[in-house]
């Protein structure tokens, strides 16, 4: 089997070696190649009035990143993994996209970066922009649990959100490729209040039955692969109910398909992906409809 690659993007603010180490379980799903990426923002070395380009500062920042990456790489190499590293200067977004393309990675892992006011307004847009411009799934990795402990096996109990779109179908297929890492999949569909158009109890019960059947079909696909699965229907506002379900069912991660709409559209529509990226306390695995499996 060809080694799958993950691109681990770190600014050394949000993701450290323990985050990387907690993803080593993914080797059971064929992820034997890690590529590290650190982007030195232009603002750190350029655009300083009267000072020009700060070459010495660039060298210092590069070497600081290099020392960290060498240490991380040594640990992974000794486990028999393949490792590569990029330390580049520029804007993070285009660098993430170009590195993902150059290395043909199967998964991009990013943290949630600290943001300014403007960026906060568009919270999560960097991740959505990656999803719009590549067909590679993105794991927004919040690896510290609210308890302060490291989420050691994020793929063990993923909560799979199903909205019956082509993107959520792709999310099912993508998640199936993690066989060997998954212990139990929790498939959830949220029925929005708007869907209760008719006051007829009969029609509402039909709606419940139809969605439950679809969820059971999803579960049986996992069970055929030897992965435990359970299905749950929730009612109400999608993001709040997903968070509630994740908490009640002790999920370790949330998985969602994404439409690939522009970040602005996603934000205006109040998409689940935007909210997961911005607000969820759990890691979010976002799978674009365009992913090639």
């Amino acid at each position: 089997m060809k080694d799958k690659k993950l691109l681990f993007v770190t600014q050394f603010e949000e993701l450290w070696f323990d985050a990387l180490q907690s993803l080593m379980d993914l080797r059971k799903a064929g992820f034997n190649h890690a590529v590290f990426l650190h982007v030195i923002g232009r603002d750190k070395v350029a655009m300083h009035r009267g000072k020009g380009y700060l070459k010495d500062e660039e060298v210092k920042l590069r070497e600081m990143a290099n020392v960290r990456f060498i240490d991380w790489a040594e640990s992974l190499f000794e486990q028999g993994m393949e490792v590569g590293a990029y330390i580049v200067v520029g804007n993070p977004l285009p660098k993430i996209i170009s590195t993902a393309a150059e290395e043909k990675v199967d998964l991009i892992v990013t943290g949630r970066h600290k943001r300014g006011t403007f960026e906060e307004l568009y919270g999560g847009s960097e991740t959505l922009e990656i999803l719009e411009r590549t067909s590679t799934p993105v794991l927004v990795y919040k690896y510290m649990l609210p308890s302060g402990k490291v989420n050691e096996r994020p793929f063990e109990r993923p909560l799979l959100t199903m909205d019956w779109s082509p993107a959520s179908e792709k999310a099912v297929e993508y998640l199936l490729s993690f066989k060997g890492v998954l212990k139990k999949v929790i498939a959830v569909h949220v029925i929005g209040e708007k869907e209760f158009k008719s006051p007829s109890a009969m029609e509402i019960q039909s709606l419940r039955k139809e969605n439950k059947q679809k969820l059971e079909e999803v579960c049986s696909r996992f069970e055929k692969e030897g992965i435990e699965a359970e299905s749950h229907l929730y009612v109400g506002s999608t993001f709040e109910q997903i968070e509630k379900a994740a908490s009640e069912r002790e999920a370790t991660m949330i998985v969602a398909g994404t439409t690939g709409k522009s970040p602005l559209k996603e934000m205006l529509l109040g998409s689940v992906a935007t909210k997961l990226t911005k607000h969820s306390v759990l890691p979010s695995l976002l799978v674009p409809a365009s992913v090639t499996l």
Partner: protein, 130 residues
């Protein structure tokens, strides 16, 4: 004809340094930026010596070294590993790959940890290929 030495490293400062040392000592330098390109160049150019980094994009020196030593036409080319990665890590990683089912491979001819002095590098190259 001067002896040809292939340097595989993604750091332009290092390749420039090695290139200069090689040229000053009468060798012809060849350069590749990662293991994938290095392996391809080794096959095309059959260099007399390879100086190989470990941590690189696309394909690491650990995998490239393994491929070199598993290829009948390339396995006799001497290799200097020149890297920031510790020798112990390199050897352990090769052991780990062997445990996963690959064939055992010999240790590199010389292992040098960065940084290296120009004279030390020149003498090491001379010691291997004259």
């Amino acid at each position: 004809m001067s002896r040809r030495v292939l340097t595989v490293d993604d750091d332009p400062d290092i390749t420039m340094f090695v290139k200069t040392v090689l040229e000053e000592n009468g060798y012809t330098p060849l350069v590749a930026r990662n293991g994938e390109a290095g392996l391809s160049m080794a096959r095309d150019e059959s260099p007399d010596l390879i100086i190989l980094d470990v941590l690189m994009p696309k394909q690491s020196g650990i995998r490239m070294y393994r491929e070199l030593k598993s290829d009948e036409s390339l396995k006799n080319i001497p290799v200097i590993i020149l890297s920031g990665i510790a020798k112990r890590t390199f050897l352990r990683s090769q052991e780990a790959l062997t445990e996963f089912g690959d064939q055992p491979i010999p240790e590199p001819d010389v292992y040098m940890e960065k940084p290296v002095e120009p004279l030390e590098l020149a003498e090491t190259v001379k010691g291997l290929i004259g």
